[in-house]
């Protein structure tokens, strides 16, 4: 009972705020609504007993990505500035596309998922198991993807710094032209 109540609260939060996030006129509010969605998603992970995933979601999304978003918004927008929308026919057509996609996928899910309603109550993963499967090289162990991700992260950091760096000295536009 309690689990269901919590789930439906989180579900309503996710649905409402994800729709608000894509339809808000102020970009900073969109970011805040997205944050609510992310936190509620983390709540879903907690409900599924994925505690580590919960903490990763909060730490990476709320602590990292959202701060990046908000900083970027600070740097590129004036307070209170509203955003331009696309032309209305485009809005209508994409809304129609989204709704039709929703209906088709929903139909498929409802049609098929009822067949596989098995649920085994899984306990919280112990950190030792998690560490072993993250650092092992056998089947169902993920050392290689882990390392690849770390290299990707490094590349991203270097790339981001290189892209966002201000060229020192002259006018940045001239520098770009020189290249």
């Amino acid at each position: 009972m309690a689990e269901q109540i919590i789930f439906y609260i989180l579900a309503i939060v996710i649905v409402v705020f994800s729709i608000l996030a894509v339809s808000s006129k102020l970009v900073i509010r969109s970011a805040t609504y997205l944050l609510f969605v992310l936190i509620a998603t983390a709540g879903l992970y907690l409900l599924l007993n994925f505690h580590y995933l919960f903490a990763v979601q909060i730490a990476v999304y709320a602590g990292g990505i959202m701060v990046l978003f908000i900083m970027a918004i600070f740097l590129t927008h004036k307070p209170g500035a509203t955003m331009n929308q696309r032309m209305s026919w485009k809005v209508k057509s994409s809304a129609a596309l989204a709704v039709s996609g929703l209906l088709i996928s929903g139909y498929i899910i409802i049609k098929n998922v009822v067949k596989v309603a098995g649920y085994l109550k899984g306990d919280e993963l112990s950190m030792q198991d998690l560490g072993h499967s993250m650092m092992g090289t056998q089947k169902y162990q993920y050392l290689l993807p882990f390392e690849v991700i770390s290299v990707l992260l490094l590349a991203c950091i270097v790339g981001a710094i290189l892209i966002a760096r201000k060229e020192t000295g002259n006018d940045p536009k001239e520098n770009v032209k020189d290249k």
Binding site: I14, V22, L44, A72, N84, G101
Partner: protein, 110 residues
């Protein structure tokens, strides 16, 4: 602790519907918005929907293994990478054009 005290679990389909709505909200935002940061926010929504699906499939269909969990981790990590680079690009675009909207960026090089 919360979960273990409860007998009836939430049906899997409820999770899937939630993630579905989130996903298509993201799609809608991706298609309608001009602002680069808004597009990025929509992408985050889509990625999150996928994460939920991974976790739910793992818990409901293959509770003995951890593939879904790890895929969700890697998705989150890749989302972080993508955001970092994208925001660097957005800031550069802002410096160049004075605002962060997609219509400005018709050519890669002037």
């Amino acid at each position: 602790m919360l979960v273990n005290t409860v007998q009836i679990p939430v049906p899997m389909i409820a999770y899937l519907i939630v993630s579905l709505i989130m996903m298509f909200a993201g799609v809608y935002g991706f298609l309608t918005r001009k602002n680069l940061i808004m597009i990025l926010i929509s992408i985050e929504l889509i990625l999150n929907a996928v994460d939920i699906n991974f976790a739910v499939f793992n818990r409901y269909l293959f509770p003995a293994q951890n593939e879904g969990l790890f895929f969700a981790f890697f998705t989150i990590a890749i989302a972080a990478c993508e955001t970092a680079v994208a925001i660097a690009i957005i800031i550069n675009v802002y410096r160049r054009f004075g605002n962060a909207e997609v219509d400005n960026i018709n050519t890669m090089q002037e």
